[in-house]
Symmetry: C2
Subunit: 221 residues, 2 copies
Protein backbone atom coordinates (compact mmCIF):
# COMPACT_ATOMS: atom_id res chain seq x y z
CA UNK A 1 0.00 0.00 0.00
CA UNK A 2 1.12 3.54 -0.68
CA UNK A 3 2.17 5.57 2.32
CA UNK A 4 1.73 9.32 2.49
CA UNK A 5 3.92 11.24 4.93
CA UNK A 6 1.91 14.34 5.67
CA UNK A 7 1.07 17.01 8.22
CA UNK A 8 -2.62 17.75 8.88
CA UNK A 9 -2.33 21.52 8.40
CA UNK A 10 -0.15 21.49 5.28
CA UNK A 11 -2.19 22.81 2.32
CA UNK A 12 0.18 20.98 -0.04
CA UNK A 13 -0.59 17.66 1.65
CA UNK A 14 -4.30 18.46 1.69
CA UNK A 15 -4.33 19.17 -2.06
CA UNK A 16 -2.75 15.78 -2.74
CA UNK A 17 -4.97 13.96 -0.21
CA UNK A 18 -8.10 15.39 -1.85
CA UNK A 19 -6.85 14.28 -5.27
CA UNK A 20 -5.99 10.76 -4.11
CA UNK A 21 -9.33 10.38 -2.31
CA UNK A 22 -11.29 11.66 -5.33
CA UNK A 23 -9.54 9.05 -7.48
CA UNK A 24 -10.13 6.41 -4.78
CA UNK A 25 -6.43 5.68 -4.40
CA UNK A 26 -5.93 4.28 -0.92
CA UNK A 27 -2.96 5.50 1.06
CA UNK A 28 -1.82 4.96 4.61
CA UNK A 29 -1.46 8.38 6.23
CA UNK A 30 1.63 8.89 8.38
CA UNK A 31 1.76 12.14 10.29
CA UNK A 32 5.21 13.67 9.96
CA UNK A 33 6.32 16.54 12.22
CA UNK A 34 8.61 17.70 9.44
CA UNK A 35 10.18 20.50 11.51
CA UNK A 36 11.74 17.89 13.80
CA UNK A 37 13.87 16.80 10.82
CA UNK A 38 13.77 13.12 11.68
CA UNK A 39 16.86 11.51 10.07
CA UNK A 40 14.78 8.65 8.61
CA UNK A 41 12.50 11.20 6.99
CA UNK A 42 15.38 13.28 5.58
CA UNK A 43 16.60 10.13 3.84
CA UNK A 44 13.26 10.01 1.99
CA UNK A 45 13.24 13.72 1.16
CA UNK A 46 16.44 15.69 1.78
CA UNK A 47 14.48 18.96 1.64
CA UNK A 48 12.61 17.79 4.75
CA UNK A 49 9.20 18.83 3.42
CA UNK A 50 5.86 17.09 3.30
CA UNK A 51 4.14 15.50 1.40
CA UNK A 52 6.20 12.45 0.51
CA UNK A 53 4.43 9.58 -1.26
CA UNK A 54 6.09 6.22 -0.85
CA UNK A 55 5.42 2.95 -2.65
CA UNK A 56 7.42 -0.26 -2.86
CA UNK A 57 10.03 1.14 -5.21
CA UNK A 58 8.87 4.70 -5.40
CA UNK A 59 9.61 7.81 -3.35
CA UNK A 60 7.94 10.96 -4.63
CA UNK A 61 8.02 14.49 -3.28
CA UNK A 62 6.94 18.01 -4.25
CA UNK A 63 3.14 18.14 -4.14
CA UNK A 64 2.61 19.55 -7.64
CA UNK A 65 5.07 17.15 -9.30
CA UNK A 66 3.25 14.29 -7.51
CA UNK A 67 -0.21 15.55 -8.55
CA UNK A 68 0.85 15.76 -12.21
CA UNK A 69 2.18 12.20 -11.93
CA UNK A 70 -0.99 10.91 -10.27
CA UNK A 71 -3.16 12.45 -13.02
CA UNK A 72 -0.98 10.80 -15.70
CA UNK A 73 -1.05 7.31 -14.19
CA UNK A 74 -4.62 7.42 -12.76
CA UNK A 75 -6.48 9.56 -15.29
CA UNK A 76 -9.96 8.62 -14.02
CA UNK A 77 -11.92 10.47 -12.84
CA UNK A 78 -10.11 13.32 -14.63
CA UNK A 79 -9.07 16.27 -12.48
CA UNK A 80 -7.34 18.09 -15.33
CA UNK A 81 -9.40 19.72 -18.08
CA UNK A 82 -8.78 18.51 -21.63
CA UNK A 83 -7.63 21.60 -23.56
CA UNK A 84 -4.20 23.22 -23.28
CA UNK A 85 -5.86 26.60 -22.59
CA UNK A 86 -7.93 25.26 -19.72
CA UNK A 87 -4.94 23.38 -18.33
CA UNK A 88 -2.97 26.63 -18.42
CA UNK A 89 -5.69 28.32 -16.41
CA UNK A 90 -5.82 25.46 -13.92
CA UNK A 91 -2.05 25.51 -13.35
CA UNK A 92 -1.95 29.29 -13.14
CA UNK A 93 -4.48 29.19 -10.31
CA UNK A 94 -2.75 26.30 -8.53
CA UNK A 95 0.57 28.19 -8.63
CA UNK A 96 -1.19 31.32 -7.42
CA UNK A 97 -2.56 29.50 -4.36
CA UNK A 98 0.55 27.45 -3.64
CA UNK A 99 2.79 30.47 -4.24
CA UNK A 100 1.42 33.94 -3.57
CA UNK A 101 -1.58 32.96 -1.44
CA UNK A 102 0.54 30.58 0.64
CA UNK A 103 3.34 33.13 1.15
CA UNK A 104 1.10 36.06 2.01
CA UNK A 105 -1.80 34.39 3.79
CA UNK A 106 -1.80 30.66 4.62
CA UNK A 107 1.76 30.34 5.93
CA UNK A 108 1.54 33.63 7.83
CA UNK A 109 -1.75 32.94 9.59
CA UNK A 110 -0.96 29.28 10.36
CA UNK A 111 2.42 30.27 11.76
CA UNK A 112 1.24 33.12 13.92
CA UNK A 113 -1.88 31.36 15.20
CA UNK A 114 -0.67 27.82 15.68
CA UNK A 115 2.47 26.39 14.07
CA UNK A 116 4.93 28.91 15.56
CA UNK A 117 3.68 27.88 18.99
CA UNK A 118 3.83 24.15 18.23
CA UNK A 119 7.15 24.17 16.39
CA UNK A 120 9.19 26.80 18.18
CA UNK A 121 7.12 27.95 21.18
CA UNK A 122 7.11 31.34 19.44
CA UNK A 123 4.51 33.94 20.41
CA UNK A 124 2.40 35.47 17.60
CA UNK A 125 3.76 38.60 15.91
CA UNK A 126 0.91 41.12 15.83
CA UNK A 127 2.28 43.01 12.85
CA UNK A 128 2.60 39.93 10.62
CA UNK A 129 -0.85 38.80 11.73
CA UNK A 130 -2.44 42.17 10.94
CA UNK A 131 -0.83 42.27 7.48
CA UNK A 132 -2.01 38.74 6.64
CA UNK A 133 -5.55 39.48 7.87
CA UNK A 134 -5.58 42.49 5.56
CA UNK A 135 -4.16 40.53 2.61
CA UNK A 136 -6.65 37.67 2.96
CA UNK A 137 -9.48 40.08 2.15
CA UNK A 138 -8.00 41.00 -1.24
CA UNK A 139 -7.35 37.35 -2.00
CA UNK A 140 -10.87 36.25 -1.05
CA UNK A 141 -12.24 39.00 -3.26
CA UNK A 142 -10.15 37.64 -6.12
CA UNK A 143 -11.63 34.16 -5.64
CA UNK A 144 -15.07 35.76 -5.53
CA UNK A 145 -14.24 37.53 -8.81
CA UNK A 146 -13.18 34.21 -10.42
CA UNK A 147 -16.42 32.55 -9.29
CA UNK A 148 -18.56 35.36 -10.70
CA UNK A 149 -18.57 33.77 -14.14
CA UNK A 150 -17.43 30.25 -13.40
CA UNK A 151 -18.86 27.25 -11.62
CA UNK A 152 -15.38 26.21 -10.39
CA UNK A 153 -12.23 28.29 -9.83
CA UNK A 154 -10.54 27.38 -13.14
CA UNK A 155 -13.64 26.96 -15.36
CA UNK A 156 -16.84 25.00 -15.67
CA UNK A 157 -15.30 21.75 -14.56
CA UNK A 158 -14.03 20.78 -11.12
CA UNK A 159 -10.24 20.43 -11.33
CA UNK A 160 -7.14 20.13 -9.19
CA UNK A 161 -7.24 23.95 -8.91
CA UNK A 162 -10.37 23.63 -6.76
CA UNK A 163 -8.60 21.14 -4.51
CA UNK A 164 -5.56 23.43 -4.25
CA UNK A 165 -7.79 26.36 -3.32
CA UNK A 166 -9.91 24.32 -0.91
CA UNK A 167 -6.77 22.94 0.73
CA UNK A 168 -5.68 26.45 1.69
CA UNK A 169 -9.17 27.61 2.64
CA UNK A 170 -9.74 24.54 4.81
CA UNK A 171 -6.48 25.11 6.74
CA UNK A 172 -7.53 28.71 7.35
CA UNK A 173 -11.03 27.65 8.34
CA UNK A 174 -9.47 25.30 10.90
CA UNK A 175 -8.06 28.35 12.67
CA UNK A 176 -11.27 30.30 12.06
CA UNK A 177 -9.76 32.87 9.68
CA UNK A 178 -12.29 32.65 6.85
CA UNK A 179 -15.04 35.24 6.96
CA UNK A 180 -17.90 33.24 5.43
CA UNK A 181 -20.05 36.36 5.19
CA UNK A 182 -17.68 38.02 2.73
CA UNK A 183 -18.81 36.14 -0.38
CA UNK A 184 -21.87 34.01 -1.08
CA UNK A 185 -20.13 32.59 -4.16
CA UNK A 186 -17.15 31.34 -2.15
CA UNK A 187 -19.43 29.84 0.49
CA UNK A 188 -21.45 27.95 -2.12
CA UNK A 189 -18.35 26.74 -3.94
CA UNK A 190 -16.68 25.54 -0.72
CA UNK A 191 -19.88 23.94 0.50
CA UNK A 192 -20.07 21.86 -2.71
CA UNK A 193 -16.49 20.68 -2.21
CA UNK A 194 -16.88 20.03 1.50
CA UNK A 195 -19.79 17.66 0.85
CA UNK A 196 -17.67 15.36 -1.31
CA UNK A 197 -16.55 12.07 0.27
CA UNK A 198 -12.95 13.04 -0.59
CA UNK A 199 -13.15 15.82 2.00
CA UNK A 200 -13.99 13.56 4.94
CA UNK A 201 -10.45 12.68 5.95
CA UNK A 202 -9.47 16.38 6.07
CA UNK A 203 -12.37 17.29 8.30
CA UNK A 204 -11.37 14.54 10.73
CA UNK A 205 -7.86 16.03 11.18
CA UNK A 206 -7.02 17.18 14.62
CA UNK A 207 -4.03 19.11 15.94
CA UNK A 208 -3.50 18.66 19.68
CA UNK A 209 -4.12 21.73 21.78
CA UNK A 210 -6.25 23.59 19.27
CA UNK A 211 -10.01 23.91 19.40
CA UNK A 212 -11.64 23.98 15.99
CA UNK A 213 -14.63 26.28 15.35
CA UNK A 214 -17.93 24.38 15.38
CA UNK A 215 -18.72 25.17 11.75
CA UNK A 216 -15.47 23.49 10.55
CA UNK A 217 -17.09 20.05 10.40
CA UNK A 218 -20.55 21.33 9.56
CA UNK A 219 -21.53 20.71 5.93
CA UNK A 220 -24.28 23.29 6.22
CA UNK A 221 -22.34 26.19 7.75
Amino acid sequence: MLRLYHYPLSPFCRKLRLMLAEKRINVELIEEKYWEQRPDFLVLNPSGKVPVLRGDDLILFDSQAICEYVEAVHPNPPLFPSSAEQQYEMRRIIFWFDGKFYDEVTSKLLNERLLGKIQRSAPPDGEILAKALKDIKFHLDYIDFLLLERRWVAGDQMTLADFAAAAHISCLDYINDIDWNRSEAIKNWYSALKSRPAFRSLLADHVTGHRVPAHYWNLDF
Copy 2:
Protein backbone atom coordinates in the same frame (compact mmCIF):
# COMPACT_ATOMS: atom_id res chain seq x y z
CA MET B 1 3.79 38.45 -33.16
CA LEU B 2 3.99 37.30 -29.55
CA ARG B 3 5.39 39.75 -27.06
CA LEU B 4 7.29 38.67 -23.98
CA TYR B 5 7.49 41.09 -21.08
CA HIS B 6 10.64 40.06 -19.28
CA TYR B 7 13.56 41.21 -17.17
CA PRO B 8 17.07 40.12 -18.23
CA LEU B 9 18.09 38.73 -14.84
CA SER B 10 14.88 36.88 -14.04
CA PRO B 11 15.58 33.12 -14.08
CA PHE B 12 11.86 32.50 -14.69
CA CYS B 13 11.98 34.62 -17.85
CA ARG B 14 15.22 32.97 -18.93
CA LYS B 15 13.71 29.48 -18.59
CA LEU B 16 10.83 30.47 -20.84
CA ARG B 17 13.07 32.33 -23.32
CA LEU B 18 15.29 29.26 -23.69
CA MET B 19 12.25 27.08 -24.29
CA LEU B 20 10.73 29.44 -26.89
CA ALA B 21 14.08 29.81 -28.70
CA GLU B 22 14.68 26.04 -28.73
CA LYS B 23 11.25 25.59 -30.33
CA ARG B 24 11.97 28.47 -32.75
CA ILE B 25 8.96 30.46 -31.56
CA ASN B 26 9.69 34.12 -32.29
CA VAL B 27 8.79 36.66 -29.66
CA GLU B 28 9.39 40.35 -29.34
CA LEU B 29 11.22 40.94 -26.07
CA ILE B 30 10.02 43.89 -24.00
CA GLU B 31 12.11 44.69 -20.94
CA GLU B 32 9.86 45.33 -17.98
CA LYS B 33 11.18 46.90 -14.79
CA TYR B 34 8.51 45.04 -12.85
CA TRP B 35 9.37 46.66 -9.50
CA GLU B 36 8.21 50.04 -10.88
CA GLN B 37 4.68 48.58 -11.01
CA ARG B 38 3.72 50.35 -14.22
CA PRO B 39 -0.10 50.61 -14.27
CA ASP B 40 -0.27 49.31 -17.89
CA PHE B 41 1.73 46.27 -16.84
CA LEU B 42 -0.39 45.61 -13.74
CA VAL B 43 -3.41 45.44 -16.04
CA LEU B 44 -1.72 42.55 -17.88
CA ASN B 45 -0.66 40.77 -14.70
CA PRO B 46 -2.10 41.99 -11.38
CA SER B 47 0.65 40.15 -9.48
CA GLY B 48 3.15 42.48 -11.19
CA LYS B 49 5.59 39.69 -12.00
CA VAL B 50 7.49 38.78 -15.15
CA PRO B 51 7.29 36.89 -17.49
CA VAL B 52 4.05 37.79 -19.24
CA LEU B 53 3.46 36.37 -22.71
CA ARG B 54 1.04 38.34 -24.83
CA GLY B 55 -0.56 37.45 -28.14
CA ASP B 56 -3.50 38.97 -30.00
CA ASP B 57 -6.11 37.52 -27.68
CA LEU B 58 -3.91 35.88 -25.13
CA ILE B 59 -2.30 37.08 -21.92
CA LEU B 60 -0.36 34.40 -20.06
CA PHE B 61 1.60 34.60 -16.84
CA ASP B 62 3.37 32.34 -14.36
CA SER B 63 6.45 30.89 -16.04
CA GLN B 64 5.75 27.23 -15.32
CA ALA B 65 2.08 27.43 -16.36
CA ILE B 66 3.23 29.08 -19.61
CA CYS B 67 5.94 26.46 -20.24
CA GLU B 68 3.44 23.62 -19.80
CA TYR B 69 1.13 25.40 -22.26
CA VAL B 70 3.92 25.97 -24.80
CA GLU B 71 4.90 22.28 -24.69
CA ALA B 72 1.26 21.27 -25.27
CA VAL B 73 0.67 23.55 -28.26
CA HIS B 74 4.20 23.37 -29.76
CA PRO B 75 5.28 19.82 -28.97
CA ASN B 76 8.28 19.83 -31.35
CA PRO B 77 11.10 19.57 -30.60
CA PRO B 78 9.92 17.91 -27.37
CA LEU B 79 11.30 19.34 -24.14
CA PHE B 80 9.28 17.01 -21.92
CA PRO B 81 10.21 13.33 -21.66
CA SER B 82 7.55 10.84 -22.68
CA SER B 83 6.92 8.71 -19.57
CA ALA B 84 5.02 9.83 -16.47
CA GLU B 85 7.97 8.81 -14.26
CA GLN B 86 10.45 10.90 -16.24
CA GLN B 87 8.04 13.83 -16.35
CA TYR B 88 7.72 13.59 -12.57
CA GLU B 89 11.50 13.77 -12.24
CA MET B 90 11.67 16.75 -14.65
CA ARG B 91 9.02 18.70 -12.74
CA ARG B 92 10.50 17.84 -9.36
CA ILE B 93 13.81 19.35 -10.47
CA ILE B 94 12.18 22.41 -12.05
CA PHE B 95 10.26 23.09 -8.81
CA TRP B 96 13.45 22.56 -6.82
CA PHE B 97 15.29 25.20 -8.87
CA ASP B 98 12.38 27.65 -9.12
CA GLY B 99 11.52 27.13 -5.44
CA LYS B 100 14.28 26.19 -3.02
CA PHE B 101 17.27 27.16 -5.17
CA TYR B 102 15.67 30.49 -6.08
CA ASP B 103 14.71 31.30 -2.47
CA GLU B 104 18.03 30.34 -0.92
CA VAL B 105 20.50 31.25 -3.65
CA THR B 106 19.44 33.04 -6.85
CA SER B 107 17.16 35.67 -5.33
CA LYS B 108 19.53 36.31 -2.42
CA LEU B 109 22.70 36.75 -4.49
CA LEU B 110 21.00 38.77 -7.25
CA ASN B 111 19.41 41.04 -4.67
CA GLU B 112 22.49 41.65 -2.59
CA ARG B 113 24.85 42.05 -5.53
CA LEU B 114 22.75 43.96 -8.01
CA LEU B 115 18.95 44.19 -7.87
CA GLY B 116 18.72 45.75 -4.39
CA LYS B 117 20.95 48.56 -5.64
CA ILE B 118 19.01 49.02 -8.90
CA GLN B 119 15.53 48.69 -7.40
CA ARG B 120 15.83 50.31 -3.99
CA SER B 121 19.35 51.79 -3.78
CA ALA B 122 19.83 49.28 -0.95
CA PRO B 123 23.36 48.37 0.15
CA PRO B 124 24.26 44.66 0.28
CA ASP B 125 23.61 42.82 3.55
CA GLY B 126 26.80 40.93 4.38
CA GLU B 127 25.04 38.32 6.48
CA ILE B 128 22.51 37.36 3.79
CA LEU B 129 25.29 37.29 1.21
CA ALA B 130 27.48 35.03 3.34
CA LYS B 131 24.59 32.61 3.96
CA ALA B 132 23.74 32.41 0.24
CA LEU B 133 27.39 31.89 -0.71
CA LYS B 134 27.51 29.01 1.75
CA ASP B 135 24.20 27.55 0.51
CA ILE B 136 25.20 27.68 -3.17
CA LYS B 137 27.98 25.17 -2.49
CA PHE B 138 25.55 22.54 -1.20
CA HIS B 139 23.25 23.17 -4.13
CA LEU B 140 26.03 22.92 -6.73
CA ASP B 141 27.12 19.66 -5.13
CA TYR B 142 23.57 18.38 -5.52
CA ILE B 143 23.60 19.21 -9.25
CA ASP B 144 26.99 17.50 -9.49
CA PHE B 145 25.45 14.46 -7.78
CA LEU B 146 22.55 14.41 -10.28
CA LEU B 147 24.98 14.60 -13.20
CA LEU B 148 27.07 11.71 -11.87
CA GLU B 149 24.82 9.17 -13.50
CA ARG B 150 22.89 11.25 -15.99
CA ARG B 151 23.69 13.12 -19.17
CA TRP B 152 21.15 15.86 -18.32
CA VAL B 153 19.76 16.98 -14.95
CA ALA B 154 16.50 15.01 -15.16
CA GLY B 155 17.67 11.99 -17.18
CA ASP B 156 19.30 11.01 -20.45
CA GLN B 157 17.34 13.52 -22.49
CA MET B 158 17.62 17.31 -22.49
CA THR B 159 14.39 18.70 -20.97
CA LEU B 160 12.88 21.85 -19.59
CA ALA B 161 14.59 20.99 -16.29
CA ASP B 162 17.96 21.74 -17.92
CA PHE B 163 16.66 25.10 -19.08
CA ALA B 164 15.30 25.87 -15.61
CA ALA B 165 18.65 24.97 -14.05
CA ALA B 166 20.67 26.83 -16.69
CA ALA B 167 18.45 29.88 -16.26
CA HIS B 168 19.44 30.15 -12.60
CA ILE B 169 23.09 29.26 -13.19
CA SER B 170 23.36 31.84 -16.01
CA CYS B 171 21.97 34.64 -13.81
CA LEU B 172 24.49 33.72 -11.12
CA ASP B 173 27.30 33.51 -13.66
CA TYR B 174 26.38 37.03 -14.79
CA ILE B 175 27.30 38.28 -11.31
CA ASN B 176 30.30 35.92 -11.19
CA ASP B 177 28.98 33.71 -8.40
CA ILE B 178 29.53 30.31 -10.00
CA ASP B 179 32.75 28.59 -9.05
CA TRP B 180 33.47 26.69 -12.26
CA ASN B 181 36.26 24.75 -10.61
CA ARG B 182 33.87 23.05 -8.20
CA SER B 183 32.53 20.42 -10.58
CA GLU B 184 33.79 19.22 -13.96
CA ALA B 185 30.38 17.61 -14.58
CA ILE B 186 28.51 20.91 -14.11
CA LYS B 187 30.98 22.74 -16.33
CA ASN B 188 30.57 20.21 -19.14
CA TRP B 189 26.78 20.18 -18.83
CA TYR B 190 26.55 23.98 -18.85
CA SER B 191 29.03 24.25 -21.71
CA ALA B 192 26.82 21.98 -23.84
CA LEU B 193 23.78 24.15 -23.12
CA LYS B 194 25.60 27.43 -23.61
CA SER B 195 26.65 26.40 -27.14
CA ARG B 196 23.05 25.99 -28.27
CA PRO B 197 21.64 28.74 -30.49
CA ALA B 198 18.78 29.13 -27.97
CA PHE B 199 21.28 30.53 -25.47
CA ARG B 200 22.47 33.44 -27.64
CA SER B 201 19.81 35.94 -26.64
CA LEU B 202 20.55 35.37 -22.93
CA LEU B 203 24.26 35.93 -23.36
CA ALA B 204 23.56 39.23 -25.11
CA ASP B 205 21.62 40.57 -22.11
CA HIS B 206 23.05 43.59 -20.45
CA VAL B 207 22.11 45.35 -17.23
CA THR B 208 23.31 48.96 -17.11
CA GLY B 209 26.00 49.69 -14.58
CA HIS B 210 27.20 46.12 -14.14
CA ARG B 211 30.32 44.67 -15.66
CA VAL B 212 29.99 41.03 -16.62
CA PRO B 213 32.92 38.64 -16.09
CA ALA B 214 34.81 37.93 -19.33
CA HIS B 215 33.99 34.20 -19.29
CA TYR B 216 30.22 34.91 -19.28
CA TRP B 217 30.06 35.13 -23.08
CA ASN B 218 32.86 32.67 -23.68
CA LEU B 219 31.66 29.30 -24.93
CA ASP B 220 34.98 27.73 -23.99
CA PHE B 221 35.32 28.97 -20.38
